[in-house]
Amino acid sequence: MNRLVLPLVIPLLTAIILLFAPRKALWQRWISFAGSIGLLAAAIALFLRIERDGIAVLQAGGWRAPFGITLVADLLAAMLVVAAGIVAVAVTATSFAGVDPKREASGYHPLLHVLFMGVCGAFLTGDLFNLYVWFEVMLVASFVLMALHRTRGQLEAAFKYVTLNLIASSVFLTALGLLYGGTGTLNLADLSTVFRGREMGAFELVLAMLFFSAFGIKAALFPLFFWLPASYHTPPAAVGAVFAGLLTKVGIYSLIRIFTLLFRDAPPGVYTLLLGQALCTMIVGLVGALAQRDFRRVLSFNLIGHLGYTSVGLALVTPAAMAGSILYILHHILVITNLYLVSGIFLRLRRTTQLAELGSMYRERPLAAALALIPVFSLAGVPPLSGFVGKVALLRATLEASAYWTSAAILVVGVLTLLSMGRLWEASFWKPAPNPEKAPLNRVILLPIAGLSAATLAITFAAEPLFTLALRAGEQLLRPEAYIEAVLYGGARR
């Protein structure tokens, strides 16, 4: 079977099995974990194959592009699927440390796998409407995961999340309808040939703006980001980890796809808009982080700020900038997922993530603190951790592209992140906690954190091959001829 389909089939099959399986916690956890391992294995296999043989294509149903739906994996997609696999394994492993039993019985595990399926589908699809479908798969699963709570604040946050994301979906769908109405096709590669060399008139620009808005909301870019900090701090740590690690990245990924395939010939104004948006996202996110008094809200705002980093490549459209953004996305997925899992430790120990209530970790739980040190300061960009590598890559790219304001923003945001993470560390690890711990810690929870920290270190050590890969991926994106060729003329045909 074509390996491309496995990252979709494995999670779906796992979800279905979980629906049929006994609702006993242990069954659910093991099946769920096994599914994640399978997903990761499939992702790695896919990645290795693509790394070796180039872009892979699956024409679903055997209908040739653009008539059927094409699944396509280039380097970027494959890398992101692997990252999704890693997140999946980490998050499902966390459940062995215990999940709220009611939530577990309400379909927590199948929902996670549906979410993974949606994420992988979004990364792998070569069809714009199919992307919408995966977005919805992802969103609905995230809606439900978010809504599986009881407190008033959590519910309210979930409701905001749902409403604002539905608006985004609606805008996406509007853009899709107009796009099909104007071009008669939905396949990204086919659309790329349609738009190639065409002057950007009202039609194209309206589409660009609508897609930008739709994906910008999903990617939580300025000024469309507010749903994220309004909601991401409320779900349980593991759920927050998946959301923060993967969901916004799908938005960025879609923007990259759209702007490298459809709007390659956009007028400079569009890129100025993108760049300005990236700058504002960075600054607003990190400035916003400073006033936060909750561990996870600090993370939310940092997440936003760094999403600005990840959208720089999109605005500068140079291979180096693209590579920098890609590298940063990979780093960020691992690190932010890890940090949300770390917040889970606090939730276990202290039943809260309010910074005022935290502390004493450094003294009382040195192992956990040592493990957390890596993601906290990797996010802060302390060398030689992955954040530093990503920052260097982005800085080089922006300076090469003479985008000095962006470079300045990257540096300023770097300092602000350092400040934000320093304060976070101080408040949650160093300072003496006002109250004793309320519950014992199941040390199983440290395993995924250790794994992700190790993965962060691996990025450091493998910086060279990874950056080379990111560069290749960036070049694939900016010279999409190979992608188009593979989609339109590759794979089985009918």
Partner: protein, 114 residues
């Protein structure tokens, strides 16, 4: 006809958002429903209008006789309708849960009550 349907779609978008800006949870959800109907109508209209020529191959033919209504937007809209239904039902229930948890239906009251 495009003009009229464009206005109709615009009305659905406009009123949909108008209702989402009201203070009651229920109105917000109805607004989402209007928006969803508007989107479906928009896709359908943008895909081109052909009167009464369903894309169904007649019993004795091997191929679809032209002109025919473009089946692709129909398939897209069908998917969108069904997805919209699922999502709307879920949001409605979620809104209701918020209502139960807070005892309020006024969004301002819910938000200020924290």
């Amino acid at each position: 006809m495009e003009l009229i349907l464009a206005i109709a779609a615009g009305a659905l978008y406009g009123t949909g958002f108008y209702m989402m800006l009201r203070r009651r949870l229920g109105q917000l959800i109805v607004g989402l429903g209007l928006l969803s109907n508007g989107t479906n109508l928009l896709i359908f209209t943008a895909g081109g209008l052909t009167r009464a020529r369903a894309p169904i191959i007649a019993g004795d033919a091997q191929e679809l006789a032209r002109p025919y209504a473009d089946p692709v937007p129909q398939a897209l809209v069908l998917t969108a309708i069904v997805i919209g239904f699922g999502v709307l039902a879920f949001s409605l229930v979620l809104a209701h849960r918020v209502h139960i948890a807070t005892g309020a239906d006024d969004i301002e009251e819910i938000e200020s009550g924290q």
